[in-house]
Amino acid sequence: MSKARVLIVEDEPNIVESLSFILGRAGFDIETAVDGAEALQRLRRQVYSALILDLMLPGINGFDVLRSVRSDGELKDMPVIVLTAKGQAADRQAAEAIGATAFITKPFSNAEIVQRVSELTGG
């Protein structure tokens, strides 16, 4: 069985590196994007099993990426895990309204990330 492919959209390189490492070890095929524009480009070219999406991104932000995904016929059912920070209740509500599948609050544990991604990709 081929590995589930996950796209991480996050502009903090150190977080991206750790997430890539732990999800890679957990058996996922990881690709990364550092901003919304790059994420949308990759989503058009490649099929992913899940998307890990930070909301605060330079340029096209996480909300816009989520909106594009949900309005795209082919992508609309893709699981999207949104990374939020504690205290951003309003952001969380807004992302939920647009169609986020799950939320993980920073600072998260590695085990929590692996577990949520596995659940949502059927892994």
């Binding site: 977080i15 732990i22 205290g87």
Partner: protein, 502 residues
């Protein structure tokens, strides 16, 4: 509602002097039954009889005057109507009696209410600041990001024994780098709290200044002397008052230039604004001691914030007294029948300066028409306010939407005017004009302020703004209130919120 507290005060003072109604009545030459009616507020009292009663009681007439108590009654009525206090109609019914019997306690309740409003505003302002401050939001986000990176990398280091040396070094370097960033972010957050000006301006300092000005009857004889002194000196020199003011202002500017805060692309400050601003600054030197004495002698100005505001207001008063000396200004006002355009032209002052000056013509024995003064921005925020005893201007909520102070914004530069009748039955002539304030520029929103004056209807015949309005026709008088919360006119189509106490 009964608007006479004098009877209660006579009774209180008579009892304090251990006099019976019969004894006091005989001393002032009236029957005991008539005095009884006066004390029960069933007969109005004023003039010579009030003077005789004051003499018989061994007190000054002002101690029987009920003006300051009515100000407290009006303020307490607003307290009762405040949704957070939610007083009952019983409170409203008995408020005058309460103030009449216990003026000191009533004053204390009011002070408590003002302190409550101040603290409430401070809490709201600080909460708002903490939740919306962009620096704080960014800092918290930064810290959470660093903590996330550190936590994730350290968990990798802890739980993966098989990392290569290169991987171990890489994740250690992430922990080190993000720890350093975290330290920087935490330090700048600590500095923010150390340096941030988290003081909250007192919302009620302005009110204390209102009280101070009201208690002084908006007339400061010491500062009027400043204007009249200039006038006398200028008259001796043979030059015109205005020419000499101009010279004095120019000399001051040469010695101590004080440029106005300029706005790029905007019109320069008008000559009238400049002159007033410089005279106000000069007042700090010329009348600084007088102003300081007045401010520190007033028990109403208990806070530093209130004293600062009052000092500024008195320097503005002094500047107005120099530009518009009392006697010539009163004479011109009577001659022009309080026409503000004529007065501002004759004294070369702005509409607002002339309007505010009219509300200060309160010299005992040489009073002008009695005016209340109010200034509002288009959102209804009141920035200046001077009440009349029977026309309380609201302190804690917006004024009646039917007042011309608001309709004046519909046609800026034109005068809106109307007779209005309060629920108490008192009638007033209201007139207002929206004027442009500060520098203007095509690309800026116009800064409009509405300036309103109101005088009791019996004095309106002396005022040009009543001309052409048929006062004998009741339809020319608009039924108004002071503020919706306190207004009993249930069927008013302009009501913004329900009356809380009727």
């Amino acid at each position: 509602m009964d608007r006479n507290l004098t009877g209660r005060k006579i009774r209180t003072h008579r009892r304090a002097a251990s006099l019976t109604q019969g004894q006091l009545a005989s001393r002032v030459g009236i029957s005991p039954s008539y005095l009884n009616l006066i004390e029960a507020n069933k007969r109005p009292i004023a003039g010579g009889l009030l003077d005789r009663i004051a003499v018989a009681l061994g007190i000054s007439r002002t101690e029987l005057d009920d003006t300051s108590e009515w100000r407290i009654v009006d303020a307490l009525n607003e307290l009762i109507a405040d949704p957070e206090i939610a007083g009952s109609s019983e409170h409203s019914r008995t408020v005058a009696d309460f103030v009449g019997r216990n003026p000191e306690w009533a004053d204390l309740v009011l002070k408590l209410y003002r302190a409550f409003i101040d603290r409430n505003q401070a809490v709201l302002a600080l909460a708002d600041r903490l939740s919306r401050d962009p620096f704080l939001g960014e800092s918290v986000h930064r810290i959470l990001t660093n903590v996330t990176a550190i936590r994730s990398a350290s968990e990798i280091l802890e739980k993966n024994d098989d990392l290569s040396d290169a991987q171990r070094r890489r994740f250690l370097s992430i922990v080190a780098a993000d720890s350093e960033r975290l330290s920087t972010a935490a330090r700048s957050l600590a500095e923010f709290f150390d340096n941030a000006d988290m003081r909250v301006r007192s919302g009620t300092a302005m009110e204390h200044v209102d009280t101070f000005i009201f208690e002084s009857n908006n007339h400061f004889a010491e500062l009027e002397q400043l204007g009249e002194g200039f006038l006398r000196r200028n008259a001796r020199s043979g030059a015109s008052h205005h020419a000499l003011i101009e010279m004095m202002v120019a000399d001051h500017e040469k010695a101590a230039p004080s440029p106005a805060a300029g706005v790029p692309g905007a019109t320069p400050e008008t000559a009238r604004s400049r002159r007033f601003r410089i005279l106000k600054a000069m007042s700090a030197t010329l009348a600084g001691d007088k102003v300081s004495r007045l401010v520190h002698a007033s028990p109403s100005l208990a806070s530093e914030a209130a004293r600062t505001l009052a000092t500024s207001a008195l320097h503005a008063y002094a500047a107005a007294a120099v530009l518009m000396p009392y006697e010539p200004f009163l004479a011109a006002a009577e001659r022009w029948r309080y026409d503000l355009d004529a007065l501002s032209s004759q004294f070369d002052v702005s509409y607002e300066q002339a309007a505010h000056r009219l509300a200060t013509l309160r010299r005992p024995g040489a009073e002008g028409v009695h005016f209340a003064f109010m200034r509002s921005d288009p959102s209804g925020y009141v920035t200046k306010r001077l009440s009349l005893p029977r026309l309380p201007l609201p302190r804690y909520s917006n004024a009646c939407p039917l007042w011309v102070i608001y309709s004046a914004f519909q046609n800026a530069g034109a005068t809106a005017r109307a007779f209005g009748a309060l629920p108490s039955g008192d009638r007033f002539l209201f007139f207002a004009r929206a004027v442009e304030k500060g520098p203007q520029a095509v690309t800026f929103p116009r800064h409009l302020l509405s300036i309103m004056l109101a005088c009791p209807a019996p004095e309106a015949g002396r005022v040009v703004y009543a001309d052409g309005i048929d006062q004998s026709n009741p339809q020319t008088t608009v039924p108004v209130g002071t503020t919706c919360r306190l207004c009993p006119r249930e069927n008013c189509g302009h009501r913004q919120e329900a009356a809380l106490v009727i």
